[in-house]
């Protein structure tokens, strides 16, 4: 029953949320463990790690770690925005010592596909929409973030987490 958000609508909601400055989830009382119980139900027998923090971030941040026998571990990151009803999900593969990693497509682990599907279904039922990859780098003007400043501000930084990638 919900209509998918268009990119323009999403940008408008970002503008509205930042209209009076950078929203601070700590002060606004955002819920740190929002949807954690639902996510846990979707990923059993694994458990989710809650990495949510509202210092420079505007989302719930959950991670599920999958350890494999071939000295690589995979991490599924789920970010659910407080700015608009959108989320993004991605996999990162880490070396055995955890000192290096890279973003990868869904790994061929027995439960990975099922867990990803369950999470998408659950979030969809809650009316939260997955943001298309190509929108993440969409530039946003007129907003100044704490770490990025006024340059290099993107939809991803305004919806999920801010970081400094100044050239």
């Amino acid at each position: 029953m919900t209509t998918p958000l268009t990119k323009d609508e999403l940008k408008k909601s970002v503008d509205a949320a930042f209209e009076r400055g950078i929203p601070n989830g700590w002060i606004l009382g955002w819920e740190e463990s929002r949807f954690q119980a639902q996510i846990n139900r979707c990923i059993r027998p694994h458990t989710v790690e809650n990495w949510t923090s509202f210092d420079y971030a505007f989302c719930n941040n959950y991670e599920v770690i999958f350890r494999t026998n071939d000295r690589i571990s995979y991490s599924l990151t789920i970010l659910i925005s407080f700015i608009s009803d959108v989320y993004c999900m991605h996999w990162t593969a880490y070396s055995a010592d955890g000192r290096s990693g890279r973003v990868v497509p869904t790994p061929e682990i027995a439960t990975a596909m099922t867990i990803e599907k369950n999470l998408r279904l659950m979030l969809d039922e809650l009316g939260i929409q997955e943001i298309p990859d190509e929108w993440l780098s969409e530039p946003v003007t007129g907003i100044s973030l704490e770490l990025s400043g006024e340059r290099n501000v993107t939809l991803a930084k305004c919806l999920f987490r801010d970081y400094d990638d100044s050239d």
């Binding site: 949510t52 210092d55 039922e125």
Partner: protein, 431 residues
């Protein structure tokens, strides 16, 4: 706030009927909150859209400061306010479904179970706030309420306010300076017949919530406040947001309550009684070990990383301070070099997480912050965004290193990286 309605039609004709009826009844973003607010339950608040909480707040802020303040003052907690809204919205949805004869086939799902607040009666018995211009008397009462909330939320800042005689004073609307200075908030020294006092000047129209957050921000950024802290020998952790202040009996109860909630969650997730007992023992040991336990862990981990942190290694003033040089800003046209990831400097932003800045997670007092941040940078796990950009590193400790503005102990450090200013660590996330 998010409500979805899941309906299982019995047959084709019922499905057709529902498909026509439901979209008119409940549409995303058009849930008529204003209508349910006409109920005595929430009569002093106006809101036009449901959407997420942040927008609700903004709309409330635009339209009716008094309404939000009234609720926030009554409940002291924004999450409780959201719970109340959620409950009211559920009730409204149910009533509408009943009206349409759909009750029995519909099931309401909420992102969180709706529990009616226990003190609804308290709200409904409150008189409605007068609309229109505030009188001097009501403005005075509002300021007093701000000070009362300050006492609850940030007792140290409250003590400072009392000692320095800081008074909340609205800028006059006719003042030519008002428009120019409306975005600045400062303490102004003044004198009256009783002596010297400080005026905290705020723009007319600010909500109590805004006054409170600005007041805390101004006080905690004021060097005089930090000098006063030193003079008073007060060693404190900063404001605790909406939770009780650290060190108070309420704070200990709050921490215990959080722990019990986490054990209940563990049980719900299928943890065995032995696992829960082990967790209880671990937390008790952590409390006992405190900073000593953390120190041991830091030193061990630093050894494992084959590089002891500079602050732990030198023992005497180190090389960062040994060769002072002229700042790059003296040379016009100077383009700052990109910093190397090896031994980068600690960014000035690090101070925001040690000086009690409101709305920022704080490292616990007495911790070697630079050592911890360098360790987390050297031994931490890289975090990469979906688009492949490196955004920082995470490292976990078994003892708490920081406290969130909501008053929760934090066991992890996220290190942000900047090619221009270096690294800064932020204590982050729950155990």
């Amino acid at each position: 706030m998010k409500i979805s309605v899941s309906i299982k039609p019995k047959n084709e004709s019922e499905r057709d009927h529902l498909e026509k009826t439901i979209p008119d009844l409940i549409k995303k973003h058009t849930l008529p909150i204003r209508e349910l607010l006409s109920d005595s339950l929430l009569r002093s608040v106006h809101c036009t859209r449901s959407e997420d909480f942040h927008k609700q707040y903004k709309i409330l802020d635009d339209e009716d400061h008094a309404g939000l303040d009234h609720l926030a003052n009554t409940y002291t907690s924004i999450p409780t306010f959201v719970g109340l809204m959620r409950h009211a919205a559920s009730a409204w949805t149910l009533a509408k479904l009943k009206e349409k004869g759909l009750i029995g086939t519909a099931k309401i799902k909420e992102s969180e179970p709706a529990t009616p607040p226990s003190n609804i009666e308290q709200i409904s018995s409150e008189p409605e706030e007068e609309s229109g211009e505030q009188t001097d008397e009501s403005a005075k009462t509002a300021d007093e309420r701000v000070i009362e909330r300050l006492e609850r939320i940030d007792p140290v800042a409250y003590q400072f306010v009392q000692e320095k005689d800081i008074r909340l004073i609205s800028r006059p609307k006719w003042s030519w300076a008002f428009e120019w200075m409306r975005s600045t908030f400062d303490l102004e020294e003044r004198t009256d017949s009783f002596g010297t006092y400080f005026a905290f000047l705020y723009s007319p129209g600010l909500s109590e919530y805004q006054k409170l957050t600005y007041l805390i921000g101004v006080i905690r950024r004021d060097p005089a406040f930090h000098k006063w802290l030193e003079a008073q020998k007060i060693d404190e952790r900063g404001p605790s947001g909406i939770s009780p202040a650290p060190g108070t009996p309420e704070y200990r109860d709050y921490q215990e309550q959080l722990k019990e909630q986490s054990y209940a969650l563990m049980a719900e997730l299928g943890a065995t009684p032995e696992e829960i007992a082990a967790r209880r023992r671990g937390e008790a040991a952590n409390e006992w070990l405190g900073q000593q336990g953390l120190l041991i862990e830091v030193l061990q981990a630093a050894g494992a990383a084959r590089q002891v942190s500079p602050s732990a290694r030198r023992g005497t003033p180190g090389r960062w301070a040994a060769k002072p040089s002229a700042g790059p800003g003296r040379n016009p046209g100077y383009v700052p070099k990109r910093l190397s990831g090896r031994n980068p400097p600690i960014s000035p932003r690090q101070k925001l997480h040690t000086d009690g800045t409101a709305g920022k997670s704080q490292f616990k007092p007495g911790i070697d912050v630079e050592g911890i941040v360098r360790l987390a940078w050297e031994a931490g796990r890289p975090i990469i965004d979906k688009n492949g950009r490196f955004i920082g590193k995470k490292y976990s400790f078994s003892a708490p290193v920081g406290t969130s503005p909501s008053g929760v102990d934090q066991y992890h450090v996220f290190v942000h990286w900047s090619e221009k200013s270096g690294i800064h660590g932020v204590p982050t996330s729950r155990p």
